[in-house]
């Protein structure tokens, strides 16, 4: 219980742990997928898995924006900076992700490309204003929480007539990814990935609301509980999922009512649909091509679309050989199944995106779980 000591609400956590153990039926298992990397991070940081009975297991989902970006799109961004000489603005998380031949933004920057780490799309606009004679491209990544800020920036650029600003859009959609996972052969036919329920994302849901999940709950008969990021939220949500499974219900429940409503942030949604439209298909690292799972900039704002402004070359993008990120992102493998984990690949020298982002499963395992998993396995082997 070492990890529980680290937060004040330890009494509550222990009570919840007892309750979960009491309600989880010993004759079955509960595989719960936390879609969102923020939850993966919280689960490891607080050792939530250790508080669960043996038959309640977390399956880590693909909800880490940095992790799911296909290598080709990263290579394209590097090319924009290196060959087209633009000022490329990127969120910090993306900087160290290795592309083909381990070329990352940070390496390209060290070699002289003008790549700037920004915190907000407002910073990218500022750079564009200050450099009117340069092309400034914002490398937009992320789920539904980062999309509205990109939409605002595009509208603002239009209003200001900032002609040197454009966006390389890689925004993706959570519900399509969840649907794709539930539809995958590993879940549907092969049974290699078992999912009995979902912990729904917190902040993504604050934007899109809880309503978009109602479809899966019904269509795939899987319960969804939208969970806050705090460890107690996660535990409370696990309890709610266990109850749904026990009672044979498959509904969308909202544990995070402090912030999430059924309809979400309507203003943000309106801005997003004004500026973006669905792509027919988009490649996700690990999941492959997922239909209607990403956004592109509408024709009305084509002037700010970096994909229209610049032509990038077709390239043979390649992952680092034997990096298991793609299988990990599908929940098929665990970081410890990767030969490179903790030896060749560490947060200081990441071989794959799952080790770069603090929301990636490999980084979470390394930082918080590295010594516990093997120890636990050993203990089980002896017992």
């Amino acid at each position: 219980m070492k990890y529980v000591d680290e937060f004040r609400a330890r009494d509550l956590a222990e009570k919840l742990a007892v309750q979960i153990a009491a309600e989880a039926k010993p004759d079955r298992t509960y595989h719960l997928m936390e879609f969102c990397g923020g939850h993966t991070h919280a689960i490891f940081r607080y050792g939530v898995q250790d508080l669960m009975p043996e038959n309640v297991k977390f399956v880590h989902g693909p909800g880490c924006p940095v992790c799911v970006l296909p290598v080709r799109r990263l290579d394209d961004a590097v090319e924009l900076a290196e060959k087209h000489g633009v000022i490329l603005c990127s969120y910090g998380d993306m900087m160290r992700v290795p592309g083909t031949k381990q070329r990352s933004l940070i390496k390209a920057k060290a070699d002289g490309a003008d790549i700037r780490m920004i915190y907000s799309t407002q910073d990218a606009l500022k750079i564009a204003r200050e450099n009117p004679d340069r092309q400034v491209v914002f490398f937009a990544i992320g789920f539904e929480t980062t999309t509205p800020p990109t939409a605002v920036a595009i509208k603002q650029a239009e209003a200001e007539g900032l002609e040197n600003f454009s966006v390389f859009c890689n925004h993706v959609l959570t519900p399509s990814a969840i649907g794709h996972i539930l539809d995958s052969p590993e879940v549907r036919d092969l049974g290699t990935v078992k999912i009995d329920g979902f912990l729904g994302p917190s902040h993504v849901s604050s934007v899109i609301g809880s309503e978009p999940y109602e479809f899966f709950a019904e269509e795939f008969a899987k319960p969804v509980v939208i969970a806050g990021f705090e460890p107690l939220d996660v535990m409370q949500s696990v309890l709610m999922l266990i109850r749904q499974v026990n009672e044979g219900r498959a509904e969308v429940e909202n544990e995070y009512t402090r912030v999430v409503t059924r309809e979400g942030n309507l203003k943000a949604q309106a801005l997003v649909s004004e500026v973006f439209e669905l792509r027919q298909s988009f490649e996700w690292r690990g999941l492959g091509e997922v239909p209607y799972s990403a956004l592109r900039i509408r024709d009305a704002y084509a002037a700010f679309d970096a994909e229209k402004r610049f032509t990038v070359t077709e390239k043979q993008s390649r992952e680092v050989k034997s990096c298991e990120c793609p299988a990990i992102l599908r929940g098929v493998k665990k970081p410890t199944d990767c030969k490179l984990f903790g030896t060749v690949c560490t947060p200081d020298n990441p071989m794959g995106s799952c080790m770069v982002s603090s929301e990636g499963a490999c980084a979470a395992y390394w930082t918080y779980g590295r010594f516990r998993e093997p120890a636990k396995q050993k203990a089980e082997a002896i017992a």
């Binding site: 004040r8 990397g37 923020g38 920004i118 907000s120 799309t121 902040h203 604050s206 929301e359």
Partner: protein, 84 residues
């Protein structure tokens, strides 16, 4: 990158911008994604944008928890480190 941090709005500015106070640090953020933000409101901030309003209690609770977990410092560094 998934995290959002609560802060109190201390001033509203032109162009949907606002100043928030975060552990003694002042930061300019955008409130373009919210309707009716007032000085004194608590908002959750994500990549420089207020995503939604939260109650003062929720803000205090989240901040205390983030501080205990040691995430607060990292988040503050990320926020203040950016070209603001």
């Amino acid at each position: 990158m998934c995290l959002a941090i609560p802060a109190k709005v201390t001033a509203l500015e032109a162009g949907d911008m606002a100043v928030v106070a975060l552990e003694g640090v002042k930061k300019r953020i955008s409130v373009a994604l919210l309707d009716d933000v007032s000085v004194g409101d608590y908002v959750l901030i994500h990549v420089g944008y207020a995503l939604h309003k939260v109650s003062a209690e929720e803000a205090a609770r989240t901040l205390a928890l983030m501080a205990e977990a040691g995430i607060l410092k990292e988040e503050l560094e990320e926020i203040t480190g950016g070209a603001a």
